[in-house]
């Protein structure tokens, strides 16, 4: 079976006022159906660029990207994107935000209502359907954005540091919620984070990137079973994997440059 995402020798060069910036340099990566892959790396190593390419919001300078076997041509509801800054429409209530994509799919009012309510309840916002984004906390906003992305039923979820702006406690909560939903639905997830701990805790596979130019410097398998627990976070095995990822992020030259499937 074809991989869910296939990034093939992709290079992305930005034309900026200070000349050309190579954001991604000949990057290749395959993600299988139902995999949970996290992407870590220092700021500016091209994580968002990679995600936006898969989302179809950007076009590669060279190379190609296949999603579900077909080349990416523009964004589409088969790929749900969750942005770091929530990106909820502030003029719409939580429910109307979730209904936005459903309306585009031609669902009638009653169907939209039901689907939206279902997904709001899934993220614990069942009673906040009529609240405006400004009336929600950061964590609630992000949960609403997740509900909005889930509601259109994408086979692939692309998340760009979705929990970056949250406090540590809410963040852990959101991680567990996300994993619970993922285990239930097994959609493919590509998840960007700055946080090495988060990367290891969530992922089946951690992709470590290095900057200037953006490359994949290491791919680390996380053989811990799901559901992940707080005890696992404290286990020696977790510490060991975490250590390898940490070194990859902070001293990219010290690790071997691996391409392909992990250790």
């Amino acid at each position: 079976m074809a991989p869910m995402i296939s990034i093939q020798s992709v290079t992305k060069v930005y034309q900026s006022s200070r000349g050309e910036v190579t954001s991604l340099d000949d990057v290749s990566l395959d993600v299988d159906r139902g995999e949970f892959v996290t992407l870590v790396g220092p700021s500016g190593c091209g994580k968002s660029t990679m995600l936006n390419l898969v989302a179809g919001l950007l076009e590669p300078t060279s190379g190609r990207i296949l999603v579900d076997g077909a080349p990416v041509a523009g964004p589409g509801p088969d790929r749900g994107v969750i942005f770091q800054q929530y990106a909820l429409f502030p003029w719409l209530t939580a429910r109307k935000n979730v209904e936005f994509g459903l309306r585009l799919q031609g669902l009638n009012k009653r169907e939209r209502r039901e689907r939206a309510q279902h997904y709001l309840e899934l993220v614990g916002l069942g009673r906040f359907g009529s609240a405006l984004p400004k009336e929600l906390s950061g964590g609630m906003k992000q949960r609403c954005a997740i509900a909005r992305a889930y509601a259109v039923n994408p086979s692939l979820l692309l998340m760009d540091e979705p929990f970056g702006a949250l406090d540590a406690l809410t963040r852990v909560q959101m991680q567990d919620d996300l994993l619970a939903t993922w285990q239930q639905e097994r959609r493919t997830v590509l998840f960007i984070t700055h946080d090495v701990d988060e990367a290891v805790y969530l992922a089946g596979r951690v992709v470590v990137m290095s900057p200037h130019p953006g490359r994949i410097s290491d791919i680390v398998d996380v053989p811990l079973p799901y559901p992940r627990t707080e005890d696992m976070r404290l286990s020696p095995q977790f510490a060991q994997i975490r250590g390898r990822v940490w070194r990859g992020v902070h001293h990219p030259s010290a690790t071997s440059t691996l391409r392909g499937d992990g250790a």
Partner: protein, 283 residues
């Protein structure tokens, strides 16, 4: 089963540290209302104080031509009885409303086009920037040459003032729409038409209202100038003839009418603004 997980997530939602629980609290609304109450008292107090100072000056000063509140009220009553006040007010209000509505009705689509299409920006912006710095008063001789001294010419000057203030604001609004909102709509499957109607328009609404309120101000400000164009009626006309006959109390009546009507129309816009942009974070 789906239900079990939904429950676990619900539980998380309930105990999550960020959650307040229950319905969104109505307290900010109430606080705003209380604040609005106290500010209304301040409005009244400063109004009374201003009238009092004016009265004091008119009564104590030895300037024959400084009208006090009683003279102005008398003139006001006379104007109502003889009909001239209503006549002048109607004429002016008609011009302002027509010029303002035309200006805004053209400025909003023009601003959207400028923000959305590069070619529209390139074609419209130089003209807007050029005429923005030219006071409408300076255009009047030229307007007379092209449009004569009829009603069209007066409305045109007001229209121009309203259009120029509003088109810039609308354009800025469209330019400032956060690109993440556009991307968020695109990844949910939205095409250009949907993005325009359901993202660009609502997101730039606050700017458009600012533009409309500025346009309203410019419309009234241009009114008196436009009525220099040999208007038979209008508040500006009325004030100019009052000046010739040294009827200073009539000038004050004119000022009060313009101020009050401008204020009332601005409040109307404000109500619309509150209704359509109450989603905004900062208020």
């Amino acid at each position: 089963m789906a239900n079990k997980h939904a429950e676990s997530l619900l539980e998380a939602g309930r105990t999550g540290p960020a959650d307040a629980g229950g319905a969104p609290p109505p307290t900010p609304e109430r606080r705003r209302m209380r604040r609005a109450g106290s500010i209304a008292w301040l409005y009244l107090a400063t109004f009374v104080l201003g009238i009092g100072l004016w009265w004091l000056y008119a009564a104590l000063g030895d300037n024959e031509l400084a009208p006090g509140p009683p003279e102005v009220i008398r003139s006001f009553g006379e104007g109502l009885r003889n009909g001239w006040l209503l006549e002048h007010t109607q004429a002016s209000l008609g011009r302002v409303v027509a010029g303002f509505l035309l200006g805004v009705a053209l400025a909003i689509p023009a601003g959207f086009l400028m923000g959305w299409y590069r070619w529209a920006r390139g074609m419209v912006e130089p003209w807007v920037q050029f005429f923005r710095t030219v006071p409408p008063l300076a255009l009047i001789p030229l307007v007379i040459v092209f449009l004569g001294i009829g009603e069209t010419a007066k409305i045109f000057v007001i229209f121009l003032a309203a259009f120029l203030s509003c088109v810039i604001a609308t354009f800025q609004g469209v330019r400032n729409v956060d690109v993440t909102f556009v991307n968020a709509a695109r990844v949910l499957g939205a095409g250009d038409a949907t993005i325009f109607g359901r993202v660009i328009v609502p997101a730039s609404m606050p700017y458009i209202f600012v533009g409309m309120r500025v346009a309203l101000g410019s419309s009234w400000a241009t009114l008196v100038a436009s009525e220099l164009l040999a208007a038979p009626t209008g508040l500006g006309r009325m004030m100019q003839s009052a000046q010739q006959f040294l009827q200073t109390e009539r000038i004050v009546v004119g000022i009060i009418m313009i101020g009050a009507l401008g204020f009332a129309m601005d409040r109307l816009l404000l109500v619309g603004e509150r209704r359509l942009t109450s989603w905004q974070e900062v208020r």
